[in-house]
């Protein structure tokens, strides 16, 4: 019998880059994944995570049946029974403690856009404002930085830039195919500047690698602003016509002399002057990109605002080779914030971090732990969590564990029995991205792609079907009228004028509106003043500084003999994404386990060598972990890095869930004071 071969074109969702892929099938079984050479984003190139999607989908440990926790351990139950029981429990808890005692937590693994909005729709239809996600510690702080200054988060026009500045971002590991855009610009003569405490993969190609101490990026940005203003290298016309707060900005910048910046950040004064000159001569083709590295600090949002303010100083806002505002896809939206406003119910964290809820309708996961454990500000008793593993990814793991263990109902949808799933009352098998069809937008290219269902497993529901079936059991079926995700996709697409058939015929992406040339007449900007806001009235009214005032990280203050090192966490690695993919055997061959990255001088002082084990201790807890002694250029003495997501040495046992950026509410995770002791050396 001959083998039936087929190729299905869809998108990879092993990370959020969503590269175009060709999935090769033999007799309906996936056998290979290669890049879709026509796709707008990746142009045929793929990182090695993509092919591993097959291993993930067919993994022997894949959960394929609903599980219920019983006194005798896990019991397999029929899907319909599981949904009936979950619906009954949710109804009971709602009647007892109110709808707001129930929450939804949507993980990174599920994706954003459409899937995020379905989860938001569900919990709002249920009557609770408590939508939780990884966004209260990733992405949103950068959104605020751009939204507050520019009125929107533009995309970096890397390929047309004359200078690219990567702030705390390492595309080769975090967004692999962004690297080819940087290469394209460099081949046209662009200079690359990388601002990162570590000599990251992208820093290997940098013309200038500025190596600030963790969390001091804001001081560097202010130093660059001072130089641009002092030398007259800024775009006067743009500043005069399109910004508010320049006098205040200018006055505040004055103290950030190159010498002061060197003292605070460790970046040499001469480098500050050199970078400012490079930006001035390249303006407005200065394309800056801010990564997650700037978010997890006590001063994250203001550091990001300072960087974004630089864009405006060099006139790079909405300019070719700078950054560009893009039009969102004209799709219908699924959220119910206008139809069913629930702000009066006190979304968790909205009182402490009003910006987080006001601008992103995001609740605060760290506050949720207090609601579960202490009933503060009110009891949270139930959670339906999908595609997340907060037991490895949220700060202060011990408290997360206690919180999840004390919920009256925890439902987890997952591919595998994760640390978080193992605490659930019900574990439901979830569909991977290869088992659902959804709309994706590539904002940079203003293109929409429809993904397709490449394989199926019985009893494994796609996200939409799950929310739909549960909603219909909870008398809120009216909010989920579409029979399946195809019907939903069709409804979402309707106002765009595009059809599902058209998208199916073009898996490389369909442009919904071509990116227009930058307008000659800029503005009004989508801020409250209609201008780029160096000083924010909105923040001032909420009681914050109106300027992105720089706050030196706490660890930079008085040296603490008890915790002499500063630990960065969460640096991205190519093969793993947050807590995922540790069960792909060949990934383990390549990168077998966790490690703490350490400067050779520190290793020598501690008497440890490559592979030796140390205990790293913070005020929160400790982990025991092997040492990786890096080259002296790769990290500064006194600074360490541990990547998150390893159950063997979970760095979030060390991170703080009570020290926040005051605007975003993001936890301090990239400048944690720690001490290090050699194992067997007496701790």
């Amino acid at each position: 019998m001959s083998t039936e071969r087929d190729v299905q074109q869809t998108l990879c969702r092993m990370c959020d880059d969503r590269c175009g892929i060709d999935v090769h099938l033999e007799d309906g079984r996936m056998v290979d994944i290669v890049g879709n050479k026509a796709h707008v984003w990746n142009k045929g190139r793929l990182c090695v995570k993509a092919r591993a999607a097959i291993d993930m989908a067919y993994h022997p440990d894949r959960l394929l049946a609903p599980l219920k926790r019983t006194a005798d351990g896990w019991q397999e139950i029929p899907l319909a029974q599981a949904l009936d029981e979950i619906a009954a429990r949710l109804t009971q808890i709602k009647e007892r403690d109110g709808a707001r005692s129930v929450s939804v937590w949507k993980g990174e693994a599920i994706g954003f856009g459409q899937q995020e909005d379905i989860a938001r729709r569900f919990i709002h239809a249920f009557g609770s404002p408590n939508y939780l996600s990884n966004d209260s510690m990733c992405y949103a702080a950068r959104y605020f930085g751009y939204k507050l200054v520019d009125g929107a988060w533009p995309v970096a026009d890397l390929e047309n830039a004359r200078v690219i500045v990567m702030w705390g971002a390492n595309p080769p590991h975090a967004h692999p195919n962004m690297t080819q855009y940087i290469t394209a610009a460099r081949r046209k003569g662009a200079k690359l500047v990388v601002v990162d405490p570590r000599l990251s993969a992208i820093a290997r190609r940098a013309d200038v690698h500025a190596q600030p101490h963790p969390g001091t990026d804001g001081a560097l940005a202010w130093g660059l602003m001072r130089e641009l203003i002092r030398t007259g290298g800024y775009d006067r016309e743009f500043v005069e016509r399109h910004t508010v707060g320049f006098p205040e900005l200018s006055a505040y910048a004055a103290t950030f002399t190159p010498e002061m910046v060197e003292q605070e950040t460790g970046v040499p004064a001469a480098t500050v002057i050199e970078l400012a000159a490079l930006m001035a001569e390249s303006a407005p083709r200065v394309s800056m990109y801010v990564g997650n590295g700037l978010e997890h600090h006590e001063n994250g949002v203001n550091n990001i605002r300072a960087v974004v303010s630089l864009d405006a100083l060099v006139g790079a806002v909405d300019r070719e080779g700078g950054n560009r505002f893009v039009q969102p896809a004209p799709l219908r939206t699924l959220t119910l914030y206008d139809d069913v406003p629930l702000e009066h119910l006190g979304p968790l964290g909205a009182d402490r971090f009003p910006v987080l809820y006001d601008l992103r309708q995001e609740c605060h996961t760290m506050t949720a732990m207090g609601a579960i454990l202490e009933g503060d500000p009110y009891p949270l008793r139930a959670m339906v969590l999908t595609g997340a593993n907060p037991l490895l990814t949220n700060p202060n793991t011990e408290r997360v564990r206690q919180a999840f263990e004390s919920l009256d109902l925890l439902v987890v949808r997952e591919l595998f029995m994760t640390e978080t799933a193992s605490l659930a009352h019900y574990v439901l098998p979830a569909a991977s991205f290869l088992e659902r069809s959804e709309l994706h937008t590539h904002a940079k290219h203003q293109a929409v792609t429809l993904t397709r269902r490449v394989c199926d497993f019985p009893d494994v529901q796609d996200e939409y079907q799950f929310w739909h079936d549960l909603a219909h059991r909870l008398d809120m079926g009216a909010y989920f009228p579409w029979d399946d995700e195809t019907a939903l996709n069709r409804w979402l697409l309707e106002p765009s004028g595009l059809t599902l058939e058209e998208l199916e015929a073009h898996p490389e992406g369909v442009t919904y509106s071509p990116l227009a040339p930058p307008p000659l007449e800029r503005g009004p900007f989508m801020t409250s003043s209609g201008k780029v806001e160096f000083a924010s009235r909105y923040l001032k009214d909420l009681g914050y500084d109106e300027l992105p005032v720089y706050k030196s990280p706490e660890y930079r203050g008085t040296p603490d003999d008890e915790y002499p090192f500063v630990l960065m966490t969460g640096a991205r690695k190519l093969l793993y994404l947050h807590s995922r993919f540790r069960n792909i055997p060949r990934f383990r061959t390549a990168v077998p386990g966790p490690e703490v990255e350490m400067h050779p001088d520190d290793a020598r002082a501690l008497g440890v060598a490559e592979g030796d084990t140390v205990t790293v201790t913070s005020r929160i807890g400790n982990v025991t972990i092997p040492v990786h002694v890096v080259s002296p250029e790769e990290i500064r003495p006194g600074e360490l890095q541990i990547t998150h997501g390893w159950s063997e040495a979970n760095v979030n046992l060390l991170t703080h869930d009570d020290r926040f950026d005051p605007i975003s509410g993001f936890p301090l995770m990239k400048s944690v004071e720690v001490r290090v002791t050699k194992v067997g050396a007496g701790e």
Partner: protein, 161 residues
């Protein structure tokens, strides 16, 4: 013929190519089994990807006493026939670039075969440092880069005058 052109100035030593090649050879991610090798030197920030150039005058092929090395008529790749390789390692010695490896499990030499005309290293190179291109113009990107830089320099120069 087409070859895998390498651009050390674009390489970030992310190791995607090594993993992809090793996976094709062995189903695993042991980088030492990759035919393309990337050396990284932090002090110089140098990334050096090296793979077989499929030399027009392939010394490995000439020196092979077993006649196990031949040129693929379709792709032009210089390939080792494992069934005929005697494991004498003369090809390793002959290659001026050190781009031939040895599979001690099977006792045979091993090298790049361009994956039959769709090299996996290139498909997984997210920096764009590797290109599968006609040898006649394999390093056109260098010329293009110089062209762009000169053009920009001239534009700047005009701007000053």
């Amino acid at each position: 013929m087409r070859i895998v052109a390498v651009d050390p100035d674009a390489c970030v030593a992310c190791r995607n190519c090594e993993y992809a090649c090793a996976f094709r050879q062995t189903g695993d991610f042991d980088r030492t089994r990759s035919h393309i090798r990337v050396n990284y030197h932090p002090a110089e920030r140098a990334c050096v990807p090296l793979t077989c150039m499929h030399c027009a005058e392939a010394w490995c092929m000439e020196v092979c006493p077993a006649g196990a090395i031949s040129r693929n008529a379709e792709t032009g790749a210089v390939e080792i026939d494992k069934d005929h390789c005697a494991g004498c390692k003369m090809c390793l010695l002959a290659c001026p670039f050190g781009n031939i490896g040895f599979d001690s499990t099977h006792g045979v030499s091993r090298k790049c075969d361009l994956c039959g005309g769709d090299p996996r290293c290139v498909g997984s190179c997210t920096s764009g440092a590797l290109e599968y291109v006609e040898e006649n113009d394999a390093f056109a990107f260098k010329r293009d880069a110089l062209d762009a830089k000169l053009r920009q320099a001239l534009r700047l120069d005009r701007g000053r005058r």
